[in-house]
């Protein structure tokens, strides 16, 4: 009995070790079948560090930890100050230009092509994987530009973004009426409006989904950290509220990748670790949401 128990524990430990070393879970981009890790890296605020060399070097180390943990998707925007340049410098110093799945945005009512040219210079990349119209700004002008770039092979995917549920009705219309590979919007344990329409539409139309603000920019975790985790959190491999919140998001089958933003190496490792363990099914996700709603 004792030996069988020892063998069982050894098997469990081996499985845990294998899981820890295994690649993160991936989801397919519906328009191409390409698989992407389901946790990426956002850069709003966290990578806007200016020209400060130590801060930029630290961001490169965050990116190193991200890539070492199997991450690929990095998302930025001209709206994010110096973040684009910081990412570009990090990619160059790490030799990671081939490894990254680069996602950026066009954010102007004016000359989108000129802004994208500047964005290319910041990232030091010849071609982006994904370009998105940021917050639907002048989408009727910029989306055709991106689609033309895609037709010419100058970008692989095109998409649109919003955050915090803004312009939801218009966003939905664009999803239904335009050729899109990706959409990006807010979805988390408290902001669940996307479950009613945007996520089902994305699934129906074969559009990949990037999720921003999975932690509500940290507010969600600050709110939750005063409360204990549910006793069944361990069943879904959650030892912290950050893991709980992120698993809820990436557990939705229509979500391709969540892009939490952080400048902490331990957080980026923890976030990527979420993509390795078990993902909650629909019933468990309901239970997770109900638990948090009841707090």
């Amino acid at each position: 009995m004792k030996r069988r128990t020892l063998l069982q524990w050894a098997a469990l430990a081996a499985a845990d070790h294998a899981a820890a070393q295994a690649s993160p879970a991936t989801r397919a981009v519906p328009s191409s079948g390409e698989r992407l890790p389901c946790v990426g890296l956002g850069t709003w605020i966290t990578f806007n560090v200016g020209r400060d060399p130590p801060a930029r070097a630290h961001c490169a180390q965050v990116m190193r930890a991200f890539f070492e943990a199997g991450g690929r998707v990095i998302d930025s925007s001209p709206m994010y100050g110096s973040a684009q340049g910081v990412v570009g410098e990090g990619l160059r110093s790490l030799g990671a230009r081939q490894r990254v799945f680069s996602a950026d945005k066009v954010w102007t009512g004016g000359d989108g092509a000129a802004q994208l040219e500047a964005t290319h210079t910041e990232w030091q990349l010849p071609r982006f994987d994904l370009l998105q119209v940021h917050n639907l700004l002048a989408w009727d002008k910029q989306l055709p530009l991106l689609q033309k770039m895609k037709d010419e092979g100058r970008v692989r995917y095109v998409g649109i973004t919003t955050s915090e549920g803004r312009r939801a009705r218009e966003f939905e219309q664009v999803m239904r009426n335009q050729r899109l590979d990706f959409v990006q919007f807010t979805y988390n344990l408290l902001d669940r409006e996307a479950e009613r329409r945007l996520l089902p539409i994305a699934a129906e139309r074969g559009i990949a989904v990037l999720v921003n603000r999975p932690f509500r920019q940290g507010d969600l975790l600050r709110h939750l950290q005063r409360r204990p985790l549910p006793p069944w959190a361990g069943e879904i491999g959650c030892a912290s509220w950050a893991q709980f919140a992120l698993k809820f998001v990436i557990g939705h089958p229509a979500v391709t990748c969540a892009i939490p933003a952080t400048r902490r190496i331990d957080h980026v490792r923890e976030n990527m670790g979420v993509a390795r363990g078990p993902l909650p099914d629909a019933a468990t996700r309901q239970r997770m949401a109900a638990y948090v709603a009841g707090l």
Binding site: W44, I45, T46, N48, V49, G50, R51, D52, A55, M79, Y80, G81, S82, E164, R166, R167, R263
Partner: protein
């Protein structure tokens, strides 16, 4: 910007508190020990105003103009623009303020005496002089102290003090010259509140 009512102040904060205060420290370190000159200027302002002479008050206005020009270029244009997209516009406002103050300093004041400055000017100037103490009071290092002529808020406070004390100039003109400093203080207060959250 559609659905503008859905945006709060926090949506416009695009940098972390650590990055902001690191920027202030970098700014101070880049020009150290010139802050000593700035402190000397802060002490000179009430001395100039207390003389009651219009020539001395002109000198105070010119000193304030110089401070705005420096803050606009050295801080907003050169440094803050690294992390704050609106900083170049704020730098232009500083340049405008410098121009307005310099112009006011050169305007002839036919037949006007120079009444003694009241207490408000003294209070505002004292606030500008003591402003650097906010850093140690908030448990931040001295490298993050904000000094007149280097950072916007003490410069705005000192300017309002100069305007309050420059009674040789008509009140309407001084109110006009106070618009940009007041706006700067509001922007600074909003920024400080957001980074402290």
């Amino acid at each position: 910007m559609t659905e503008w009512w859905t945006y709060g102040l926090t949506d416009f904060l695009m940098f972390s508190p650590q990055v902001y205060w690191r920027l202030v420290a970098r700014h101070n370190m880049a020009w150290w020990p010139a802050q000593a000159l700035a402190l000397a200027a802060t002490l000179a302002l009430p001395a100039l105003l207390r003389t009651g002479a219009s020539a001395a008050q002109r000198g105070a206005l010119l000193l304030a103009a110089l401070a705005w020009a420096w803050v606009g270029w050295a801080f907003h244009w050169r440094l803050y623009s690294e992390i704050f997209l609106a900083a170049p516009w704020v730098a232009l406002a500083c340049a405008l303020q410098a121009l307005l103050l310099a112009t006011a300093a050169c305007v002839p004041l036919a037949g006007r005496g120079a009444p003694a400055p009241g207490p408000l000017g003294g209070i505002l100037l004292a606030a500008a002089l003591l402003y650097p103490l906010l850093a140690p009071l908030a448990s931040r290092p001295w490298s993050e102290a904000e000094v007149f002529g280097f950072m916007p808020e003490p410069t705005a406070l000192a300017t309002l003090g100069v305007l309050a004390g420059s009674r040789a100039w008509p009140a309407w003109g001084r109110w006009l010259l106070a618009a940009i400093p007041v706006a700067s203080l509001l922007l600074g207060a909003a920024t400080r509140w957001l980074v402290a959250r």
